[in-house]
Symmetry: C2
Subunit: 209 residues, 2 copies
DNA sequence: CCACATCTTAACTCCGCGGTCAAAAACAGG
DNA sequence: CCTGTTTTTGACCGCGGAGTTAAGATGTGG
């Protein structure tokens, strides 16, 4: 509908992502979000009926990128290619949606009390697909006999950490913010670690679309 | 002093760990902690002056185990031994202090606003030591040319994840709670991944105390 | 049994924040 | 410029939770 509506909703969601990520749901005050968005508080309630509602919108804003990241599992069957592309995509989400990413992680950490059931189901479905695929690689002798679940947990954790624990990472690296090349290094090194660590056969053969 | 005091403080810290881990600092109500501890609310204020104070006590309760986990770096110089022991110790912390672990992670995620400066410094110091040691292994050709920081981030993330994202892990594995052997598998597989992935030379020679 | 410290309890205050409202302003279309 | 709709705004309400208080109970040492 109205251009104003769309614009202000975006402003608010952006501000909300940052503050929810920074402080967590309960500690976040609507008025802070309003201030950061440059709008009076009742506007937030005008565009989003409640705090809960706004929060859900923030979460939903990162769902699509997250689901998209698993695409490599559906587009290819070569373990080296899929795992590399998956890791790159996951790190890219951490890099490009750091706030929403953090909000999502926090949500999961607390038992996903606000995550709509259908989204949780969709992610679960993806997980099953992915671990089946990994299992099939193991069965075909294309990689070591790893447990697919644990492998996924490690990949999730290692890629998410660049968004979730940015404070720690800043402190350790001494940089206020990681540069593009830092993210590239992270992705490259993690890929190397996973591929080599799982004994993945790097046959460039099976590169089917 | 009083045995009662000591006992009740422990009760409260235990209850507080669980609730803070579950809900986060801001969402936690003192009365819930009191209820779980089986005490009236003012008792919590009697033993701990404030919510903030109690929260800090919870955090401090996990600092020691966390710092201890880095011992392997000081006790040995063989990369395979150190990394394996480190990973085992880290996962053990996640397993044995799941609540406090989660509270700590949440604290770091939000920029460590309550973490005493001296503790942050101590952890930073450990990190420097650890990454120096890894760098020395690289320099001596005992492992691939990995970036020590990124390697540490991956290890931290992958081990912490078993405490922080227990909900997700439960859902994926279909188990309400991981068994001892699940943790063992996790540690074993992660060790394998890291050692092989970093091309660590498994010479059982350098096992000096 | 007394005196003193420790601990428990119910009732209370205070204030900050989620959420509301009604009126004013800005906008849109004819 | 008039009319209806969308958006903005400041003032307001009510609740719930952090923290307090002061009196009572229980413990402890002589």
């Amino acid at each position: 509908m109205s251009r104003i509506r769309e614009h202000n909703r975006e402003l608010i969601i952006q501000a909300a992502s940052e503050i929810f990520a920074d402080q967590g749901y309960a500690a976040t005050k609507i008025i802070e979000i309003a201030n950061r968005a440059g709008l009076p508080k009742p506007n937030v309630y005008y565009y989003f009926k409640s705090k809960e509602n706004l929060y859900r919108s923030v979460i939903e804003s990162v769902i699509d990128p997250l689901l998209q990241a698993a695409q490599p599992f559906y587009e290819d069957d070569d373990p080296a290619t899929v795992l590399e592309q998956y890791i790159i995509a996951k790190i890219k989400v951490s890099q490009q949606h750091p706030h929403a990413s953090k909000v999502f992680a926090s949500e999961i950490m607390h038992g996903a009390p606000h995550l709509p059931e259908d989204i949780a189901d969709k992610m679960m479905e993806q997980t099953i697909q992915s671990s089946n695929k990994i299992q099939s690689w193991v069965d075909r002798g294309l990689m070591d006999r790893v447990d697919p679940h644990h492998l996924l947990f490690t990949i999730w954790a290692a890629t998410q950490t660049y968004a979730d624990f940015d404070w720690q990472i800043s402190r350790v690296t001494g940089k206020d913010k990681l540069s593009q090349s830092d993210y590239d290094t992270a992705a490259q090194q993690l890929t190397q670690l996973i591929l080599k660590g799982c004994g993945v056969q790097t046959s460039k053969a099976a590169k089917a679309g």
